[in-house]
């Protein structure tokens, strides 16, 4: 094995995943480097979301091995793995109640409380007004919900953050704010980021590395510059179609 596991936040070794007898991912081998932003691009149905759920332990591969920070994923207790590897989804699911209740959820699950000053600090960090704390989540805009979802994931202090198309339904100003936020989190906390995006410009702008996935397979991976010089015809075709 040439790849150094030491530098890998996530290492996938020949991963395949089936659901209801349908192949979703097949024979994926690759590594996500520590402390960097890796963008995941590819058409719908390529298996990108399934890949993130495997890394967060919400599902398990049918075959193959997953290493998180050099340790087999099975060696982690599931709740501690999921706190360690945070996940934020496009739909930014909220539980019924206030912003405070949602923000404190990861701590409530551990029977801990979120002090007011920490709650305010977190909201400030993600660019939300502290006054929103007592507001009902139904009153938030799409951008505000997404920022709250990220802040909530950050409470667990993950060292890997998985983002699934978190800006796809937002207005350009919110998109820019969230891009700046993720960049700041990556630089300030050295958090490893894996970011699924359909926006190739965003992938180029934000990513240090990129994975191109199609039909459940990892076609190419490497430094972000590969998007300008793809090796395979399928990736060239994909990029042309998107350009």
């Amino acid at each position: 094995m040439k790849i150094s596991l030491k530098d890998a936040a996530i290492y996938l070794d020949d991963i395949s995943y089936e659901k209801n007898n349908h192949s979703i991912l097949s024979n994926i081998t690759g590594m996500i480097p520590k402390g960097k932003i890796t963008t995941l691009v590819g058409p719908s149905g390529a298996g990108k979301t399934s890949l993130l759920k495997l890394c967060n332990g919400l599902t398990s591969p049918t075959s193959g091995k997953i290493y998180i920070n050099n340790k087999r994923i099975e060696s982690y207790h599931p709740p501690s793995l999921r706190r360690h590897v945070g996940l934020a989804l496009q739909q930014a699911t909220m539980i019924y109640g206030t912003v405070r209740k949602n923000l404190a959820l990861p701590l409530t699950l551990q029977n801990k409380q979120l002090p007011d000053n920490q709650a305010e600090e977190l909201l400030k960090l993600v660019g939300l007004d502290a006054k929103l704390l007592s507001r009902h989540v139904n009153d938030l805009s799409g951008g505000q919900r997404q920022k709250l979802s990220i802040a909530r994931t950050l409470i667990n202090q993950p060292d890997i953050l998985l983002l699934d198309e978190i800006t796809s339904s937002l207005d350009p100003i919110s998109v820019k704010e969230i891009e700046e936020l993720i960049d700041m989190i990556n630089k300030k906390y050295r958090t490893t980021i894996v970011w699924i995006t359909h926006d190739l410009e965003q992938a180029r702008k934000m990513g240090d590395d990129v994975w191109v996935m199609m039909q459940g397979q990892l076609i190419e991976s490497g430094p972000i510059t590969l998007l300008d010089n793809p090796k395979t015809d399928t990736v060239k075709q994909f990029l042309k179609g998107r350009a």
């Binding site: 398990s60 599931p78 999921r82 699911t93 699950l109 909530r152 667990n156």
Partner: protein, 256 residues
């Protein structure tokens, strides 16, 4: 009441038959089947009860209770297809609630340990428990399906399976027990409960009938709450695997 008077009572079957024919409701066949079935089933039960009462052997009482549990399980299990091993979970629930209620009734000498008391009260307890189980399973299945995103969110933030379905469990337990509690608030005001009416018609002292009816109402309260909680806590772990992953394939199969 005797066979002749019961024959006259068939007028109450004739009326809906004639009305159905006149208004072309198409209910004649079902009405006749229902009438014949109810006559046969109740007479079989009647003779069976008479035999059990006369023999006063506990083995026959136990056998009757087991048949009740079996029939209740058969009826309720269709609603819980998504839950693995639902049959044994229902059997455990019905058997446990039956044991607890009889233990209290006989242990505190509320009712004597005879077939005359044990069998009708068991029928009410198990029957009510079955209705509660169906209500609970119906609601719980619906809640789990509609709140799948919330379940996944809580798991993804490091929550346990129990935390991930806690809201759905509480909503389902509340929704299935509320009708029992609510109906007790108006009892006697709108209609006299069946058991009390039966006792009064049979010539019992109305106050004595009230005592027994209250006993049944209190029994049914325990039955309602206990059934939903026990079934809930037996059911939710089967929706997850040992890696605390939500098994959504079971839900998909339900949609097929």
């Amino acid at each position: 009441m005797n066979t002749v008077t019961l024959t006259f009572a068939l007028i109450f079957v004739l009326i809906p038959l004639l009305l159905s024919k006149y208004f072309k409701l198409g209910l004649e066949k079902d009405t006749i089947i229902a009438t014949i079935r109810s006559i046969i089933q109740l007479f079989i039960v009647g003779y069976l009860l008479q035999f059990v009462f006369d023999s006063e052997r506990y083995i026959y009482i136990a056998l009757m209770i087991m048949i009740m549990i079996g029939a209740a399980t058969q009826n309720a299990r269709k609603k819980g297809k998504m839950i693995k091993g639902i049959t044994w979970k229902l059997v455990t629930t019905f058997a446990l609630i039956e044991f607890i209620t009889q233990f209290i009734l006989i242990g505190f000498k509320i009712t004597p340990p005879t077939a005359q008391y044990m069998i009708p009260l068991s029928g009410m307890v198990i029957g009510n428990s079955m209705v509660l189980a169906i209500l609970f399973l119906n609601r719980f299945t619906g809640e789990i399906k509609s709140q799948q995103d919330e379940t996944e969110l809580i798991l993804s933030l490091g929550g346990t399976p129990k935390q991930a379905v806690q809201n759905q469990l509480i909503h389902s337990i509340r929704a299935s027990t509320i009708p029992t509690i609510e109906s007790q608030k108006t009892i006697g005001l709108v209609q006299l409960p069946g058991m009390m009416s039966g006792q009064i018609i049979a010539g019992a002292d109305p106050l004595q009938a009230v005592f027994f009816q209250l006993l049944v109402l209190f029994l049914l309260l325990t039955t309602a709450v206990f059934t939903s909680i026990l079934l809930g806590f037996l059911s939710y772990p089967t929706l997850f695997n040992e890696r605390m992953q939500f098994l959504d394939e079971e839900l998909k199969q339900l949609d097929d």
